[in-house]
Symmetry: C2
Subunit: 350 residues, 2 copies
Amino acid sequence: MTRKSGGASRSTIRDVALRAGVSASTVSRVLGGAYPVSSATRTRVMRAVRDLDYVADARAKAVAGVGTPTLAFVLEDITGPSFAHMAHGVEREATRLGHLCLVCSTEGDVQHELDFVEMMRAQRAAAVILVGGSADTPEYRERTRRMADSLASAGSRLVLCGRPPLGPGAPVTVIEYDNEGGAYALVAHVLAQGHRRILFLGGKPDHTTALGRERGYLAAHRARGVDADPALLLHGDFTRDSGHRLMRQALAAELEFTAVVAATDMVAAGALTALHEAGLNVPGDVSLAGYDDIPFARDLHPALTTVHVPYEELGRLAVRTALGRTAETRAEHLLLGTHVVVRDSVRAVE
Amino acid sequence: MTRKSGGASRSTIRDVALRAGVSASTVSRVLGGAYPVSSATRTRVMRAVRDLDYVADARAKAVAGVGTPTLAFVLEDITGPSFAHMAHGVEREATRLGHLCLVCSTEGDVQHELDFVEMMRAQRAAAVILVGGSADTPEYRERTRRMADSLASAGSRLVLCGRPPLGPGAPVTVIEYDNEGGAYALVAHVLAQGHRRILFLGGKPDHTTALGRERGYLAAHRARGVDADPALLLHGDFTRDSGHRLMRQALAAELEFTAVVAATDMVAAGALTALHEAGLNVPGDVSLAGYDDIPFARDLHPALTTVHVPYEELGRLAVRTALGRTAETRAEHLLLGTHVVVRDSVRAVE
């Protein structure tokens, strides 16, 4: 590729250092992104880089990498509000610590994810955070293990946030939120209201996040000595449309249930509309609960009973842990708790 | 930074070419990301790069840049569902055209945005898409113009999506959606239902998207010969919490109105809850309309009358235009239309 940029682009790392009033090694550290640099210094250096239209020359580039200190965040679906809030927490914390945050939404495309991680390695990203469940297959573990080793070899760090852990020895930080515990507490609450036939609108059958929530649903039934009817366990995905579709199917099939527990608030929102379309009142005729406590949950009518997951805090924690700024640094496996938020969508039945 | 990666990392571009079964120049083109390469070829090459833990050497790096063909997308708030859907459209189209899409959420931090664009220039990104309104100041125009020139000098392209245009001569592609026209059509519809005092829950007073929607609100009043009471024009931001807060303030101040038009569906969702909390029925006591037609708009109760903006299609169009794959390529300024979606939240008054 020909360098089209003008004469200014021939300026050297020393010109940048001079203009920014710092040492050349500081410029190289800023461009390298591997070491902590005060955000003020970084700003001065990057401004000089821009003013001089500086492009690191081959040697500097090879030594220093090519940009601002970076942190990468990989999620499956950017339109999923819970992940968006986690990304928000990551962004805020990364910015606070003087790092630029790059987000990549893969839509579950493994190749897409591998390409992005490869690029972040070349970029010398300080850390790469993978969020959201996935199928916990040997292929997943091997692929992810290779990512972890490859990133470690470049001085970077892989963080798994809600992704299945890789087993001992892998150079990763694992942060999980308790899907099973949250679902257990929520379904126990619904059972305590007297419901005995609870429809579960689940996610993909092999998706670890969905499976954790399903396990909690079943465990709560067992703990109360209630048999969960397998016919009431439906599978779809985590979208609003999936909830709308599954709910219509359940009504069309005339399944018997007095309450519905959705795998996410988005699923619950779609289910709520399907119930309204069928002329059913919530919670008068059917009780409904969700999972995630996205902001919108309060604005559904009735306000949705759900499980609160501290997504934004989770994102901030992932960054602090990845950049080694907290006491938890040594802990390679963190499990965050969740809690039930009781609103107006579940009522007691006799 | 020391290269910790093992012997494999000493493999050359020829080793990669051999393993991928392509020419070294193809490998360089894939890594360079400046030229179109079939996604199958790119996949083969990137897999070989990973298998061999290949790190482009200084010369190759300087010549070829450092990664998969990339496209960058900059938005202000990743938790805003409308922008998330635009990002979704960008991702899907970028992937279809064999490009990896990087998203950066700036939270309105100008420095953050400049740093990201600088990095994307170093990365030789095929295009950088900036979305969402901003304050249209001389400072904005100068800063953005510098970005556009800097990217152009690196063979990249700046795309402004919903951002104020820069005036003649700037090397940018501008794609706007018609905020004023959409708001005009929506408010005309509300006026046609007999409403004469319409509360407007607007965004930041200097934000171009918010201003466009406000202009449409005022123009619709003028066109119908109705005086818009300035007291009914409130300003906040585009979040759910802003709508909730402004609505509570309007009720506490005992402003007189029979309908509410919110600057976004998120704002409308917060307002709806505030109305419910005040014991008011929508649309029985107060009519309510939003803007954006996010998926959730259908799940509010009553289903929200709003303005449909084809965000996902907008994102796809931005990518096609930026990568020069469409007939519109020559058109440097595209304006997309919007339309009103009538649901159940606005009723006629006598």
